[in-house]
Amino acid sequence: MKTLTTNNKSRLVNILTSYAPIARYLLVIAFIGASPAAVHANTVLSAQDVAINIVNRAANEGRVGNMHFTLHNDTGGVRQRSALFVHLARQGSTKIGIYFTAPAALQNTGFLSYDNVSGSDENWLYLPATDRVRKLPASSKGDYFMGTDLTYGDIKDNFKFALDDWNFSMGEALVIEHKSYYRLQGIAINNDKKQELGYSSFVALVDPLTFFPMKIEYSDTDGVPLKIISVQGLELIAEAWIATHFEVTNSQLAHKTEVILSEVQHIPDLPEEILTADELGYGVPSIAGR
């Protein structure tokens, strides 16, 4: 935890001093001690307020980047995956395309997911060996994504906790190296939601500057500690905070997934046609501006 805090603190300062004007504004506020509600975790905010601030965190409508997964298993084995990801959130619906570029055995495999605001969610998979784009059953948020320790919900929710999914409560703020963090706790609202999410509860340490959960501890549906997500790198990309380096450790399986995002770009006019089932069959898309 100490390492995490130290890293984050220095990284945040670096980010704030080198990125967009809004970041500099926040930095100035932090230094002059103006203490707006968002700056210090000891400011009185209810759990619901913190959760709302997390949900309302600025997001890029269109985002493209490279994803690198390193999977560590309990015997020391390491597997790696690289992919181009395309993320589009528009009018409440989220579309995510993931196009694998490595290892060779997975090259040109494409996965497309629609998280529709109305109607059922949809998934498609393109496997080059079959020459065909195949419609898949909608994934439960609790299903694990392509052998990683991330669930589909982890990927889609982008470090946010849906307000309808959890009963929130506030723990005691945690001070680490002179900086305090909100301790937000959540319990799944009912048994169905627990099964859907794959989690019964969580405890998150939330950075009061960014409203980004820097560490999340999840318990499984039986209430047994399941996994820890530790954010080790944040970047401000077009006014939205993006976790560009994080680790997910499954304590039950002694398995760990390290995720690094690189060359992340905000593309405001990302054409929606890129994220269609037909396009998946053409392989890794060529995106203007990259």
């Binding site: 084995g77 090259q107 109607g119 079959t130 059953p137 909608a138 990683t148 203007a288």
Partner: protein, 462 residues
């Protein structure tokens, strides 16, 4: 007419030449500032062996080197070259290629080794429109490995249906054009290549002997035993395949339109071309002490098809319907190996279910009906095929266990295929399984009950 065909064939030769030259030299004909970039490249080396469960013989021993490379020439131009090289020293063999069009034949071929150009194409693409020229496939249909409307491409059946991916498509030379107009997806394809589905060679483990595939001809008719060697069969039975060429008469042309419908997607298609499976005919008069000479004829037919697939939460439903008004058939008549045409209707329904505890279930049911009028068919008038697959992964998807049932419900025969795949590392994959076939020795699965096998494979991909 002869001159027209000659000219047409030369046009096809030119098409192939243009595809290959374009692929290798695209930077010459594409925009001046085009930069050739290797978009992806993969080499895969696999050794697969199989031991016969009945007699312990090594029935399958095959080394396969496959490559797949994609190139990007510019934002609108790209290309693909895939190759398939195989060495085999077993009873399964590499399959017949005498029914491949001349330009689709392997680059190198003998009894034990074969090198094929699996794909070779260039693609131009802008917004929703694409044109692909070269050796390619046209994978239509939504069901998995069971062919209702998915009949445009010929497929490999040298291993019967006991392959990892089903169907294994055979690419053909042609042109494919796809576009989108007001939510409609239009897909047209023209294969100027008369290649048809690949079967096992005579004497190989999966050489078809069921009378439904031999036009009613039994092994007794050709005076050989069930386990006769290749030479014995050849002495008594000779297959003559008329040359498959790039003539218009051997081409396949089709159109598919698709649109969303409710929460799902619907498509309608029509295509006309040679049936990928042959009807048999007597090539010459029967003579005493002479082998029976049988011709494999690939007659043209028209396929009308419709598909629909829809996601409903943890389930995906797939529906297919095909109508073939002029299906070539073999019938039993006063003369041997008689041919006729009839109406054929195929309906299929499939379901994917993401079941609890990480299980994935896929099941499909297909009814294949032939309107026989007064014809005496060599196969049942109605065939009912069932597939059922259950699959689960373990250890962060490193280990996958799957089990599959393929069955002919009406004939009571089928295959059961439990298998596992283990990703030892990003490059090494180990697989093993059993292909156990059962049923009547004259059934479409039961004919191979003596070829039931345990198999294992090692794959290195880089």
């Amino acid at each position: 007419m002869r001159n027209m065909l000659f000219t047409y064939q030369w046009a096809c030769y030119c098409l192939r030449a243009v595809s290959l030259v374009s692929l290798f030299l695209s930077w010459g004909i594409l925009p001046v500032n085009a930069e050739v970039k290797l978009q992806s490249g993969r080499l895969s080396l696999e050794y697969r062996s199989g031991v016969n469960l009945q007699n312990g013989d090594l029935d399958l021993s095959r080394v396969t080197l496959s490559s797949a490379h994609k190139f990007r020439f510019s934002s609108q131009w790209s290309g693909q070259i895939d190759t398939l090289s195989q060495l085999a020293s077993d009873n399964t063999g590499l399959g017949r290629v005498d029914n491949f069009a001349s330009l689709n034949r392997p680059i190198f071929d003998n009894n034990k080794a074969r090198v094929e150009l699996a794909r070779a194409s260039v693609m131009w693409r802008k917004r929703g429109t694409s044109v692909v020229i070269g050796k390619q496939v046209t994978p239509w249909g939504v069901l998995d490995g069971i062919q209702v409307t998915d009949r445009f491409d010929p497929v490999r059946r040298r291993d019967f249906v006991l392959t990892d991916m089903r169907p294994e498509r055979i690419a053909r030379w042609g042109v494919r054009w796809r576009t989108k107009v007001d939510g409609w997806h239009i897909d047209t394809s023209l294969a100027l290549d008369g290649s048809t589905s690949q079967q096992a060679r005579m004497g190989d483990a999966f050489f078809l002997t069921s009378t439904r595939f031999t036009a009613g001809l039994t092994l007794d008719d050709v005076n050989v035993s069930n386990q006769a060697g290749e030479q014995v069969i050849k002495n008594n039975f000779e297959i003559v395949t008329p040359e498959r060429s790039h003539a218009l008469a051997h081409s396949t042309a089709g159109l598919k339109v698709a649109h969303s419908l409710g929460d799902g997607d619907v498509s309608l298609m029509v295509f006309r071309g040679p049936d990928a499976d042959p009807v048999l005919g007597l090539h010459s008069m029967l003579k005493v002490n002479q082998p029976i000479r049988v011709s494999f004829d690939y007659l043209r037919r028209t396929v009308f098809g419709a598909t629909y697939d829809v996601t409903q939460g943890a389930t995906v439903w797939r529906l297919e319907l095909a109508y073939i008004p002029d299906q070539p058939l073999n019938i039993l008549a006063s003369v041997p190996l008689a041919q006729a045409r009839g109406q054929r209707i195929l309906t299929g329904v499939g379901m994917d279910w993401r079941a609890p505890n990480d299980w994935f279930i896929n099941t499909q049911l297909v009814v294949d009906y032939i309107e026989k009028d007064n014809l005496s068919l060599v196969r049942p008038q109605t065939d009912t095929l069932l597939t059922l697959r259950a699959q689960r992964s373990f250890y962060n998807a490193r280990l996958v266990f799957k089990s599959e049932l393929l069955a002919s419900v009406n004939q009571g025969d089928g295959a059961i295929r439990p298998a596992f795949a283990f990703d030892w590392s990003d490059r090494i994959k180990l697989q093993s399984g059993i292909d156990w076939l059962f049923g009547d020795p004259n059934g479409q699965f039961g004919q191979f009950k003596d070829a039931s096998r345990w198999w294992a494979s090692f794959t290195y991909t880089f």
